[in-house]
């Protein structure tokens, strides 16, 4: 009985975990990668061809976005069930799997049918064997179903820090006053290696693009620190930044509701305070 493990990147920790999970399933485990650029339908076809040629008992992949996508394509082509985000496997006929659903709020026990069992392994369901290195066989990608292929690669924008994942977010509101006024916000964000955010009032006024908007109807952020400059703290905005670990508010209006949510507050004109903070940081760094 053979077990195949699809690995996208042999150096990836999650790939090692999938391999460890496969070894627990009792069988000859072979890992393989697919050559060329990522192409979900074509890779799914490659995998289906492999199942046709080798008739393995099971095919596994790490439960990453790509792992799930490629196995889903293969399952559709082979007309077999797929157990995604699996955390445990108990042999039997049919075997029983436990899988994670609804973002982790539910564990489901299911019977997995099929001549070849298809499953992806939920991240961190098992610890990778110590020192386990993945030796993967290289399989050529099927050119047959090449529906999607990269045509061009572009670098990430906004200095490489996305608003959603930034550890520091410096956000400006109506109090910034103009599109040009955001220069000081951008400078501070750059100094701190963070991203620039803004409130709805700012995007409505056309000072910043909607992609920068933090709030109920914009991006939800969860940085270590959120610096809100000239933002009143409307509920619609707070819904987007309540995941921040610490909130620093800079506002000229002492009545602004942002102060009710802030861990630290500075009452005053952001046009003086923000450059002053930036200057202090530069001084401390000796620049």
């Amino acid at each position: 009985m053979s077990v195949l493990v699809f690995v996208e990147d042999p150096a990836d920790e999650l790939a090692a975990q999938a391999l460890t999970f496969a070894r627990g399933m009792d069988g000859d485990v072979t890992a393989f990668t697919i050559s060329g650029d990522y192409a979900p339908a074509a890779w799914g076809q490659t995998l289906a061809d492999l199942v046709g040629a080798r008739s393995p008992r099971a095919v596994l992949a790490a439960g990453t976005e790509r792992g799930n996508e490629v196995l889903a394509h293969a399952a559709a082509i082979l007309d077999l069930p797929l157990s995604a985000n699996t955390i445990s496997f108990a042999p039997g006929s049919p075997p029983t799997v436990t899988r994670v659903r609804w973002g982790g709020s539910l564990l489901e026990q299911a019977l997995l049918h099929g001549s070849t069992l298809l499953l992806t392994v939920a991240p961190h369901a098992v610890a990778a064997d110590d020192g386990a290195t993945v030796e993967a066989e290289l399989v050529a990608s099927s050119q047959h179903a090449l529906a999607v292929a990269p045509t061009k690669r572009v670098g990430a924008t906004s200095g490489g820090v996305s608003l959603e994942e930034a550890k520091v977010v410096v956000a400006g509101g109506r109090g910034v006053g103009s599109a040009e006024g955001f220069a000081i916000i951008e400078q501070l964000a750059e100094l701190l290696g963070g991203a620039v955010g803004c409130s709805r009032a700012v995007t409505s006024a056309g000072w910043r693009p909607h992609t920068d908007q933090v709030g109920q109807t914009g991006t939800k952020v969860s940085p270590d620190i959120y610096i809100a400059c000239g933002i009143s703290g409307a509920t619609q905005h707070m819904a987007g930044c309540k995941g921040a670990k610490k909130l620093l508010a800079i506002n000229a209006d002492g009545e602004a509701s942002i102060f009710a949510h802030a861990d630290y507050g500075v009452l005053g004109d952001l046009h003086e305070i923000v450059p002053a903070i930036a200057a202090e940081i530069r001084k401390a760094r000796g620049a």
């Binding site: 109807t217 409307a234 819904a239």
Partner: protein, 637 residues
């Protein structure tokens, strides 16, 4: 023969229209006969809704009343075609009827000329997208009918055929001087009566094929219009009743086959006058939505016979469906009782529940309502935090219910600005010695935003949960300060087994003031303009109580668009959680408020509080946006 041809064409079309109504989905519009008769008398006969715009309304009333008064002359003319010397017994010999006929011929012509003036010279924007050529043809037909009638009467007076004393026909008598008494006039008399009857028959045949179908459909549609709980949406059923199959269920309107018979009748009744479009806050601030074009698009799809093509986008563009704030201004303005919100919400329901296609930014709201029981995803445990220092009683399970349950709502529980309303309301109720309590963490979103968004499933889950909580607690009377909660609790929860006596906080507070249990000091220098909330004024007729409160604390300065003609703040229909394109509605409304010269913009809704306060920050006007309860509590101190 002409009569036969015209009658056949008319009957064939009528059969087709009836088939469309019969094939439509069911909806309940029975009962309440007294209110329906009243609507027929005021809206149809009295032209009440048309006369909301006095000039064009009077113009239409002249033509409509003329049509009623002159209807018997059709029969008189037909009899005269067969035998010149015969006529309708009794009526055709009445002098007063001759006078009425003369007067209304003139009034109809005045109406037609005014209509042409409006359409050709004034050219209001509300006609954009309407069938203008069709309207011209119809006006020409009406003019031909009436002019030929007048000339026929005149020629008969000249020939001495007149059935009634000519002194009763001042206009026809004057015109009769155009004709001689000889054979020429005898020929003309025949020509006029033939032209008259032929035009009427042509009109009859053309009528049901044109937007002039409203002549017949409107009166029927008004009869079946909503008579009570106008803010209520028709619930969807997710389980088939006994004897039904799954196919009998509808999840909103995906194709023309999903429309209810009232919705089909709505489309028949539309005469494209554009009054709805003219008052629509989305349309007036540059959005794509025109309620008129929604109804016309649905009608075109119905008449095309295509019952499989998706209504969105082939009849109505998706964008316009999401522009709607469900404020109901269109329904209030519509002279023929078209209920646009039902159409738009049904289209949304299909998009949300079947296609899962809706503005992405609203997704967190739907998810948070489902998961956290409030649209912002705050922890439920913090719901009563605002009340902690005020010593407000939180009703625990098993405790004796208070006289009033104060339903605070999500906005007033969690939003910093709206919380002031909850605090003020609680303080006022305490000052007046009202026995009340709140549910605290056991209160959930009523489901209104999810329902208006089209997610009926989430709404019903919340409705059932809240009704269970309220019924278990033994609640009978509810105070709500949010008009959206108020509307849902009062008008929609009865569908889910929850019937309570619901008052808006402004109503109870106004009563406490009038009973002398609250005694505010009036400050004449406080210049207040009051903004009516759509869900309070238009959907629920609460107009006086907030005004009494404003009058009790300061000087009221009314806005041009107020009462049932109010202009939305921009947050209704789940728009509190959607992005707005084009010009913001709240800014438009704030400009109107600022133009009154007031220093205070009073509101009675937490959504309006937030939206208009945001608007004031955008325009930079010196206006304080504040709930009537806060104004009242300040006047007590």
């Amino acid at each position: 023969m002409a009569l036969g041809a015209s009658g056949t064409l008319f009957a064939r079309r009528l059969a087709r229209l009836r088939a469309l109504v019969q094939a439509a989905k069911p909806t309940r519009r029975s009962g309440d006969v007294a209110a329906r008769v009243r609507n027929e008398v005021t809206i149809v006969l009295g032209q009440r809704k048309l006369l909301q715009r006095f000039g064009p309304g009077l113009m239409h009333a002249f033509i409509f009343w003329g049509f009623l008064v002159l209807a018997p002359t059709i029969l008189i003319a037909m009899i005269a075609i067969v035998d010149r010397d015969q006529t309708l017994p009794w009526l055709a010999a009445q002098g007063w009827y001759a006078l009425l006929a003369d007067i209304f011929c003139v009034l109809v012509l005045v109406g037609v000329v005014s209509a042409l003036y409006v359409r050709k010279v004034v050219r209001p924007r509300r006609f954009a997208g309407s069938h203008l050529g069709e309207a011209d043809l119809i006006l020409a037909l009406i003019a031909t009918v009436v002019i030929s009638l007048l000339l026929w009467h005149s020629s008969r007076i000249a020939l001495g055929y007149n059935e009634w004393p000519k002194s009763w026909s001042p206009v026809s008598r004057v015109l009769s001087h155009l004709f001689g008494h000889g054979g020429g006039t005898r020929v003309l008399e025949r020509v006029f009566v033939w032209v008259h009857v032929a035009t009427i028959l042509a009109f009859l045949a053309y009528l049901p094929y044109s937007k002039h179908l409203h002549i017949g459909a409107a009166a029927v549609n008004v009869w079946f219009g909503r008579t009570a709980a106008r803010g209520r949406l028709e619930p969807l059923r997710f389980e088939p009743d006994e004897g039904e199959s799954e196919d009998d269920l509808r999840f909103g309107a995906g194709t023309a086959a999903d429309l209810t018979w009232k919705q089909v009748l709505d489309t028949f009744s539309c005469t494209e006058c554009g009054r709805c479009q003219d008052v629509c806050p989305a349309n007036q601030t540059g959005k794509l939505l025109s309620p008129k074009l929604v109804i016309m698009g649905l009608r075109d799809q119905l008449f095309s016979g295509d019952r499989e093509a998706p209504l969105v986008p082939s009849a109505v563009p998706a964008e316009s469906i999401w522009d709607c704030v469900t404020c109901g201004a269109c329904i209030e303005a519509c002279p023929v009782s078209i209920e646009h919100i039902d159409h738009i919400v049904d289209l949304r329901r299909h998009l949300v529940m079947v296609e899962s296609s809706f503005p992405a930014e609203a997704e967190p709201m739907l998810r948070d309502i489902e998961r956290s029981s409030n649209p912002w995803g705050h922890p439920q445990a913090q719901r009563a935090d605002w009340a902690a220092e005020l010593g407000v009683r939180v009703l625990e399970p098993g405790e004796m219910p208070p006289e009033y349950l104060y339903w605070v709502g999500c906005a007033s529980s969690f939003d910093e600005r709206a919380r002031r309303t909850a605090e003020a309301t609680a303080k006022l109720l305490q000052a007046a010695g009202v026995d009340f309590a709140i549910l605290g963490p056991r209160e959930s979103c009523t489901g209104d935003p999810a329902r208006r968004m089209g997610n009926e499933y989430v709404f019903q889950a919340l409705a059932e949960q809240n009704v269970a909580t309220l019924n278990q607690a033994g609640v009978r009377k509810i105070i709500a300060n949010c008009p959206h909660c108020f509307n849902t609790l009062a008008n929609e929860y009865p569908d889910f087994g929850g019937s309570y006596e619901v008052v808006h906080h402004s109503e109870l507070l106004a009563r406490l003031v009038s009973e002398g249990r609250l005694r505010p000091a009036r400050d004449e220098q406080l210049m207040v303009t009051y903004h009516d909330s759509c869900y309070l004024a238009r959907h629920n007729d609460v107009l006086d109580a907030p005004r009494e409160l404003v009058g009790a604390v300061g000087t009221a300065l009314p806005m041009a668009r107020s009462g049932k003609q109010t202009f939305c703040c921009g947050a209704g229909g789940a728009h509190m959680w959607m992005e707005e394109r084009a010009n913001p509605i709240n800014v438009e409304r704030v400009r109107e408020a600022a133009a009154t010269g007031a220093d205070t913009l009073a509101v009675a809704c937490p959504y309006c509080t937030v939206m208009l306060d945001d608007g004031v920050q955008s325009t930079g006007d010196q206006l304080r946006v504040v709930d009537v309860a806060t104004l009242l509590v300040e006047a007590l101190q």
